[in-house]
Symmetry: C2
Subunit: 220 residues, 2 copies
């Protein structure tokens, strides 16, 4: 009637034109030496939101990241020692902001590493299933949402934005149609700045106007 209770984190970022997930190499049985989603046990008197923040920090070094609940997984057989109920959370982060903050290792895991979601190693427990659920949900949340902007730096080019859409939706988009649509959204700010350090024509930078976005979608 009682059960162990853990939280697992699906941390996704966009880098080199691909969606990547942060995985930990386990240093503990069971599944020692396997790759797994960062996660750990919840304490007895801990609120779930607090536990998510604590575990995220302890396991990855990241903090102040908004995590969305994905689902609960509770298969009796998912852990050799008996049922461990896990609640999976998901976050989208900007690679540039977190790249240098990622922890290097703890007692429980040897290292953390970003894997493109279409080049995954075998994962411990039912973590592949959990990740897949997260990716499916992500795909559904893309259109007319702030989702893509969570994966980009504050200033970005339209081509970068298009790449995020293409990676999330897993299909190519037409450049002209994409830009037309994006322009009509009304919550993109065109900056008077340009890309730097490229050996071709520098693209104009844009930013996401969160206030306008909120205003446009707050009534329902």
């Amino acid at each position: 009637m009682q059960t162990h209770f853990t939280i697992d984190c699906v941390i996704l970022a966009f880098d080199e034109g691909q969606v990547k997930v942060l995985l930990a190499e386990r240093n503990e049985y069971p599944y020692k030496d396997w790759w797994a989603l960062p996660g750990y046990f919840v304490n007895k008197y801990e609120e779930m939101e607090d536990a998510v923040a604590r575990i995220l920090l302890e396991m990855t070094g990241l903090k102040d990241i908004y995590m969305d609940q994905l689902a609960a997984f509770a298969g009796v057989k998912r852990h050799p020692e008996g049922r461990i109920l896990t609640v999976a959370y998901m976050a989208l982060v900007q690679m540039d902001e977190v790249r240098n903050k990622i922890a290097t290792g703890t007692n429980y895991m040897r290292q953390l590493k970003w894997f493109p979601v279409d080049e995954l190693p075998d994962l411990a427990f039912d973590h592949k299933e959990i990740l897949q659920l997260g990716l499916d949900r992500l795909k559904k949340s893309v259109s007319y949402s702030a989702t893509p902007y969570e994966l980009l730096p504050a200033k970005f080019t339209l081509t970068q934005l298009q790449q995020v859409y293409e990676a999330l939706l897993n299909k190519k988009l037409d450049k002209r149609n994409f830009r037309k649509k994006i322009n009509n959204l009304g919550y993109l700010k065109e900056l008077n700045e340009f890309q730097k350090g490229v050996s071709y024509r520098a693209a104009k930078l844009y930013s996401f106007d969160k206030k306008k976005f909120m205003k446009m979608f707050s009534q329902d």
Copy 2:
């Protein structure tokens, strides 16, 4: 590090032009005499899917109903005796099919009753929050989905279908536009049968062609 673990069920149906939820009047402390979502504890070696089916049957008398996971709730303070993690599940049912199958009472609850979702009593624990999450998710799932048909009997009139959409979306729709759109969907079968027992022109009955629907939306 261990916690109690329950399942709560959000059972929704459509009746008299309204979305209704099935609630149980508790006969146990805490929250004795309050209305609550039907739910109970999961057994130690029980798969979550099995537990959902068992609890649904024991608490409501219903079986063979597909339940979707909504979310996990685990506030330390949600239960006076300490943290009880609950996983909420949601199902849509057809009122005519279930009306006579609903249990009349158990040791744990005195009676079950359908409440229109906009005329709710106070609810035990955080059940209002759980229900609200279910309704929000339902609203999002309406367009181009099979959701509305799960709430209707096998044969229904277009006006009934429109009422379901209106109740779920919480706004009025234009009759002509609605019918045009519905006709273009391609997965509604027009039957050669008519409504009976009404004191005005009898409406034609339709049915939902699940096979066609599946075929149209299976590729992605």
